[in-house]
């Protein structure tokens, strides 16, 4: 209750009382002016919080020494190691947060303490990330604000500010290529090109406030958060116990971690096949991989052929909407087959492939029929145009006959 009362007092003060912090700092230059200039865009400012809400002091006092008096709780610039606790003062207070965001979580600080960042800060390592390193300071924006450094499209670069900096990472002896690799991945393409903000970014796999790298045993679970069916099939497959015994990181073994490429049959067979890293082409595993690649390739080729015929028919104005709709079912079968690869059993892949091939053959046939009808229409048009032309010529002769008859009269 006391905290709510304090928050209400802050709001009232912001609305009616003067703010000597902003008044003075706005008149200063450079680093001392920057916080006052930026704070107008800060989400806290919009909710009535002031500089004193974090830094303490008395914003109603004109005299700087009174305004920044330790007796009035002024703490100045907080130590980096103290920042998480300072933010948590409000953000861990469920009653206070409920006033502004009823559904907002209040366990960020608890999660942070379990993270690598939080543990290092607790050990006194001031180079580890604290709240303001990710959320910025004085111009903190909501996550949904596209200008926020933690907005999905900007989050990878925010993490990369430290994790892609060799100087910063040197003492931790961890690589700095994650951001560059991630930006080659299908996940980043989904966010940046596809506009799918729900596609995975760093926080989706590592967590945000409780950020840690997934351990060997948990990688499949992490990927399985989104790729449920694949994870389920993998966990039941013969690869799971083998990879676990070898200490291999499940999904990462074939798909890598940060630079995850768009899966294709080339991963199963051919010079770039990941299967061939362990299985010889003549082994049972190698043959199964080649068979699965061929099955998927067959359906892809059949759909491509059907697509080409239907696209041509559509370009020529033929109505093939039903076939296009059916083709979506074949596409779903292709997706199912790609998922079924994670069972590492050609029979599991063959079932959706055969269903898809039937549909692709039917849609291609529909497209070909449409093209035949187009040709028929054009032939019909040619015949009609000849008939029309003959009629026009006949009319011209009729006019000439009528007019010459009159002239003769």
């Amino acid at each position: 209750m006391k905290r709510i009362a304090i928050a209400c007092a802050f709001l009232a003060a912001a609305a009616f009382a003067k703010d000597s912090c902003t008044d003075c700092h706005s008149a200063l230059d450079g680093k001392l002016q920057a916080p006052a200039a930026a704070f107008g865009n800060d989400v806290h400012s919009r909710h009535g919080f002031t500089c004193a809400s974090c830094h303490g002091g008395d914003p109603t006092a004109d005299d700087p020494s009174a305004a920044m008096s330790k007796a009035k709780g002024f703490i100045g610039k907080p130590a980096r190691t103290a920042i998480p606790q300072l933010c948590a003062h409000c953000h861990s207070d469920a009653a206070l947060m409920h006033k502004y965001r009823p559904q907002q979580r209040v366990d960020q600080y608890e999660l942070y303490k379990t993270s690598v960042h939080g543990k290092r800060i607790a050990e006194g390592d001031t180079a580890a990330a604290v709240c303001i390193d990710c959320h910025s300071v004085h111009d903190i924006r909501e996550v949904k604000d596209p200008l926020s450094p933690v907005y999905p499209l900007r989050l990878p670069d925010t993490c990369g500010r430290c994790h892609a900096d060799p100087a910063h990472m040197a003492k931790y002896k961890i690589p700095t290529n994650q951001l560059a690799d991630y930006k080659k991945s299908v996940h980043w393409a989904a966010i940046s090109k596809g506009g799918d903000l729900s596609a995975p970014n760093c926080a989706s796999c590592h967590g945000n406030h409780g950020a840690t790298p997934p351990q060997v045993g948990s990688v499949a679970e992490v990927c399985g958060t989104c790729h449920t069916l694949m994870a389920d099939l993998y966990n039941k497959s013969p690869h799971q116990p083998v990879f676990a015994a070898m200490g291999e990181k499940g999904c990462v073994t074939c798909h890598s971690n940060h630079d995850i490429e768009m899966p294709s049959p080339a991963m199963l067979a051919g010079p770039k096949a990941v299967c061939s890293q362990c299985h010889d082409a003549d082994s049972a595993g190698g043959k199964a991989a080649a068979q699965m690649a061929q099955l998927i390739g067959n359906l892809s080729a059949a759909m491509k052929a059907s697509d080409a015929v239907l696209a041509q028919a559509r370009r020529d104005g033929m109505e093939v909407a039903d076939a296009v709709l059916q083709e979506q079912q074949a596409n779903e079968d292709l997706v199912k087959a790609r998922v079924a690869v994670h069972a590492f059993d050609p029979a599991a892949v063959a079932a959706p492939i055969n269903a898809g091939l039937k549909i692709a053959a039917a849609t291609k046939l529909a497209g070909e029929q449409a093209l035949r009808e187009r040709d028929q229409r054009r032939k019909g048009l040619a015949v009609s145009l000849v008939a029309i032309l003959i009629t026009i010529v006949g009319l011209a002769f009729a006019i000439r006959a009528v007019e010459s008859k009159r002239e003769n009269r």
Binding site: G317, E319, R377, L385, I388
Partner: protein, 363 residues
């Protein structure tokens, strides 16, 4: 004693003449004439427009056999016509193409009337009825555009009816009347269908009758410079059969163009309308509404203290009224023709329509 042989054909003709008075019609047609001069070809466009309207009516009736005017069935019924009904694709494509060609030829007819000065006294009412028919053709286009209930037509109608709501005082009432509710939906489709197949055809048929009667009463106008050159004795050709046979040649040519367009570029059906989807990018109305559409896009949202859209609509209303009243301002109080002003206005309007339609299409 001389005997006359009456053929069976003459007997039938006589029987019909006695009941229908065909000989008086024949007599009437034999006296109707059309002026002959270098611009005679422009006289054909009125007839071509009428021919395309007839095609509209015939193909429209055929479409009515299968079309269902409800939000849940409209799209599917048009799809059925296009894919399952024998020659359904041809009927629908001809209906859509002839609608567009009819509006085009109506515009050509209107501008030919302006440039040939055919609106002059005593043909003011012919001009008014013609302009009203052009307005009705645009109404046919607007109401018919929604009927397939596809994405483009849905959002174009949304934009079109939104414009109506910008009119002060009565705007929201007009928009609600057109939509049959607060937003474009099933009620709008039913309403537009009613306008398209009953209200507008009824009014159009009456007006076409009036327009033709007036043309008949006043005869076909000759341009003043032709009258001057020939001393009022402009050479004439008989309407029937000379002009009529030529007009038929034009109709057959129009039929050929129409058939070619329908067979080579069948009218697309697009995707079914989804009221919950966002409007597709780059959406624009049919070509005949592009010029005002692009003009409204160019006007800032606020001009001084007036809403931009409202200012644009007011401008169009003033422009339309000024154009309708052309026969009155085309002569000065002394009764002298303001030929340069009329030609200038016609060229300016034509240039505006062509330029802004192209800009609206490509931008």
């Amino acid at each position: 004693m001389a005997t006359t042989t009456i053929t069976s054909r003459q007997r039938v003709a006589g029987w019909l003449d006695e009941r229908l008075g065909l000989s008086s019609l024949k007599e009437f047609l034999s006296h109707k004439t059309v002026p002959i001069h270098s611009a005679t070809m422009w006289y054909y466009f009125g007839g071509i427009t009428l021919f395309l309207f007839t095609i509209q009516v015939l193909t429209g009736i055929l479409l009515l056999l299968y079309y269902r005017p409800t939000a849940s069935e409209a799209y599917e019924s048009v799809q059925f016509i296009m894919t399952r009904v024998r020659f359904g694709w041809l009927i629908r494509s001809i209906h859509s193409w002839s609608a567009n060609l009819m509006i085009f030829t109506a515009f050509v007819h209107m501008f030919s009337v302006v440039f040939l000065r055919a609106y002059r006294r005593p043909r003011e009412l012919t001009w008014f009825s013609g302009i009203a028919l052009l307005g009705l053709a645009l109404g046919f286009g607007f109401s018919g555009y929604l009927l397939p209930w596809n994405t483009i037509s849905y959002f174009a109608t949304k934009v079109g009816t939104d414009m109506a709501s910008a009119v002060p005082v009565v705007g929201s009432t007009i928009a609600r009347f057109l939509r049959g509710g607060e937003d474009v939906g099933g009620a709008t489709l039913t309403r537009f269908f009613g306008f398209h197949v009953a209200v507008l055809p009824g009014i159009a048929t009456t007006l076409i009758f009036v327009h033709l009667m007036l043309v008949q009463k006043h005869g076909i106008s000759s341009p003043p410079w032709v009258e001057q050159k020939t001393g009022g004795k402009v050479p004439q050709m008989k309407f029937f059969p000379n002009f009529f046979l030529r007009e038929m040649m034009a109709w057959y040519a129009a039929l050929g163009v129409l058939g070619s367009l329908a067979a080579i570029f069948p009218w697309e059906l697009g995707e079914k309308a989804d009221p919950f989807a966002s409007a597709p990018a780059g959406i624009h109305p049919e070509w005949y509404f592009l010029a005002p559409f692009y003009t409204l896009k160019l006007i800032p949202s606020q001009v001084l203290f007036v809403e931009g859209e409202l200012l644009g609509l007011f401008g169009f209303a003033v422009l339309a009224l000024w154009w309708v009243l052309l026969p009155f301002w085309a002569t000065n109080p002394k009764g002298e023709e303001r030929a340069r002003l009329v030609t200038g206005a016609g060229v300016a309007l034509l240039a505006y329509l062509v330029t802004f339609s192209l800009l609206g299409y490509f931008r």
